[in-house]
Symmetry: C2
Subunit: 477 residues, 2 copies
């Protein structure tokens, strides 16, 4: 008999019809009530075994984690909190689960412990909810752009250039590590490597994305990016997914507008399509909050926070305005900031961003027009000769969730900046070419996908919002 | 004034309204007719300059490849093949293009030449069409699975295990290539590497995908995969994108059914959503065909081939049946095959697959139940003890487009096979765990995304259906 998913079954009118469900046992009470989950929804189905209808041998095998196929009648449930239940007619054990050995017991496990059994943690409520929301967000990303006539471009993962300089890179090689071919001067002969040169994992698809924006108009990337940085924080991964739209004919204002619309669309999509999972995660986050000291608790719960972001314009202000606010702020005057804000030109620290977002404006903030010396070479130089048309979107609890800029489309200006910063002009020939042949104003930004998932799920460690996190010392599974 | 995309403009009723378009000059005839394209569609817009309305200096700068902003009246076009045109009121050069130096002249360039300027080839009709179709196919992949309740999982790119053994791998490292840390016995000390072990780029997300199928039910991956094989063919890339659905409670028949529905959905989606690009590519393929000797030409044109696949069931037959057909086939008897088919158990070569698909059945073929000795360790062993529940979908002109199987869900059987093949049991602990705790029948397959794009676009070299192809000796851009 064709299996019906529990998500669908729970919405089906119970008329005593015969149905088949398959899934994993969450709990089994009184040798009678099986709570079963198949991953399609956070909700379990209750299957009720009639006394003496199943032999003892089989009953013993209905343990937490076991996989069952159940056929029975769909009837209204007398129990609270569920509309339907299944009266078991036929029960088959598809896969046993030794109760003594199964690592997931029906109790609360620490997230640290669950990270060590990442191949099983997806069978918990928390992780299945997070991964369903993650799926919904990925789909919403594609839908948002597809509906607006953007084209998805797969920019390369293995790259020969370290042009962006966004961070330390992983080398990709097939050379014999023990005994690599060497040049006469003793250095490694990368001409013998697979690609005939030294290659690395990409830190961003932006530069290649720009080549497509200047051909197809509006494009976006959505792919893995890498940082070989030895940072063991709750906000960094060595391998993470990034979304990078790039738009011909956009200036910095169009760019800020799109960034806001995009984030609000995603948050609204989650609210509309992941209601049950978000309710669960909302409760979960609430319980976490209770364990914190009063002054560290968020004012808003998860769902309220999402609604707030979806419904309110983001505060736009220039870096210069932000510096003024920060200089005159209480924590700066009272020397509560770890890094005091004293002069224009310094890079903002996480504590400053959080102050602006969480204390001063109490809403998402878009900072723009940063000092050119603290930003990347490709950002468009403003007429003041001091700033570039950069923008960062700052979110409560997350900090920078989006970074972007209008790009320098003027060949001479770009070339000068490349040389000032001693970047390898010869590796950037194709990027410079874009400014020689039919250049156009254009802009774009990058959204760290896992940062978005942190925000939408209320999880606090980035290692808990990706299937198999990669960080220093860890590439298990 | 807000820019309107040419795709939308060409569908707008011309009533003399003022519009602004931005894009790149394809041709400029008689100092009067500008053909302009913005990448939103294969079609160009004709902008008509009134005599003497624009100064000579500017007219000279309207060269192929230049980027323009044009504001003017949208009027019905007297010219054939276009409903509307724009009477230019205001023309601004956004980016010049030196006609002498611009590599893309208004003539036919070889695909080989265009590969060398991959940063500009997206401004040609062929490549912009291919990339728009590629986008549509990527979106259709997500839509197909999302509509059916599958969850998208990002399986890891950097992996510590070479368990699948699907091919040679790229090493990922941050060790100093010149002077890596060594153990006492002189071997490289990978404990000092970034992840504390030797790591590689993934060849498949399947094994990790299975862990999620046995938690969420139906999942799929869509990400880059890698092969460090020194193959310079028109069908292989070192970096390519793969889609790998994995379904709990599916057997091999469900798997074959899903594979067919999936491919037919994608092809139909292309026919419905990419009609203009496909018409262009159809003509292009036709012209290519004309250059071939009569006997090598396809019987069907591109669009007819797509319709044929969308509308006809795929032929399913077992490996054993296929061997019988091949053994008794004319090319085998007349020794026309390079590899003669003599006995059960041999692996099928491309020539055999093509014979079955293109000559014998004249439609897509799904072969299943292959000899276990030529297939991977994780495929489910059939009761005959000789075959496994593997399946390959074979397409005309492409060969294998999908490979998959029902997975071995029985712990003892799987472990035995792992040991027979001397696979590293200790690296597979988590994969084996799935069979210990709530195992379930499950199945899945992998679709090479670029192979699909080859089929749908009628292009013949896989390097021409991805933005920046990676192959031995090439990681430019």
């Amino acid at each position: 008999m064709k299996r019906i998913k529990i998500k669908e079954l729970l919405l089906t009118k119970p008329e005593g019809q015969t149905v088949t469900v398959k899934g994993w046992v969450r709990t089994f009470r009184n040798n009678q009530f099986i709570s079963i989950n198949d991953g399609s929804t956070i909700n379990n189905l209750q299957a009720v075994v009639e006394l003496n209808s199943i032999d003892d041998e089989t009953l013993k095998r209905i343990t937490t984690g076991a996989c069952l196929s159940i056929t029975g009648e769909l009837i209204p449930s007398p129990a609270k909190g569920q509309a339907v239940e299944v009266k078991v007619k036929l029960l088959e054990i598809l896969g046993d689960s030794d109760a003594e050995k199964f690592p997931l017991q029906p109790k609360k496990h620490s997230l640290e412990f669950l990270r060590e059994i990442a191949h099983l943690r997806s069978r918990t409520n928390t992780f299945s909810a997070v991964m369903r929301v993650r799926h919904a967000m990925a789909f919403a990303v594609h839908k948002f752009f597809n509906d607006r006539g953007f084209f998805y471009i797969h920019t390369p993962i293995i790259t020969g250039s370290d042009a962006e300089g966004a961070g330390a890179m992983f080398r990709v090689t097939t050379l014999d590590a023990n005994n690599p071919p060497r040049n006469e001067d003793g250095t490694i002969n990368f001409k013998e490597d697979f690609f005939g040169r030294e290659t690395n994992l990409t830190v961003s698809g932006q530069l290649e994305g720009e080549t497509y924006a200047l051909a197809l108009g509006d494009i976006y990337t959505f792919g893995p990016t890498f940082r070989a940085e030895n940072s063991n924080t709750t906000r960094h991964l060595a391998e993470f997914w990034m979304i990078e739209p790039e738009m011909a004919f956009y200036d910095i204002n169009d760019n800020m507008q799109l960034a806001q619309e995009f984030l609000q669309y995603l948050v609204r999509y989650a609210l509309e399509n992941c209601a049950e999972d978000l309710e669960f995660l909302n409760k979960r986050a609430q319980e976490e909050e209770q364990t914190k000291p009063q002054e560290q608790r968020s004012e808003l719960g998860l769902i309220d926070r999402l609604k707030f972001v979806a419904d309110n314009d983001f505060q736009r202000l220039s870096y210069t305005e932000a510096i003024d606010i920060l200089k005159n702020s209480n924590p700066n005057k009272k020397k509560k900031f770890q890094y005091l804000v004293e002069e224009w030109g310094v890079d903002l620290q996480s504590e400053h961003e959080r102050f602006l977002v969480e204390k001063h404006f109490k809403k998402p903030v878009i900072l723009y027009n940063y000092p050119k010396d603290i930003k990347a070479f490709y950002m468009r130089q403003n007429d003041d000769d001091k700033t570039v048309a950069a923008m960062d979107v700052l979110f409560p609890g997350i900090g920078e969730i989006i970074g972007g800029s209008q790009r320098e489309e003027r060949y001479e200006r770009l070339l000068k900046r490349v040389n000032e910063l001693h970047l390898p002009e010869k590796d950037l020939w194709w990027y410079l070419d874009l400014r020689k042949f039919g250049s156009a104003p254009h802009a774009g930004f990058g959204l760290g996908f896992e940062r978005l998932i942190l925000f939408v799920t209320g999880m606090t460690n980035i290692r808990d919002v990706i299937a198999y996190p990669r960080f220093p010392g860890n590439a298990e599974f």
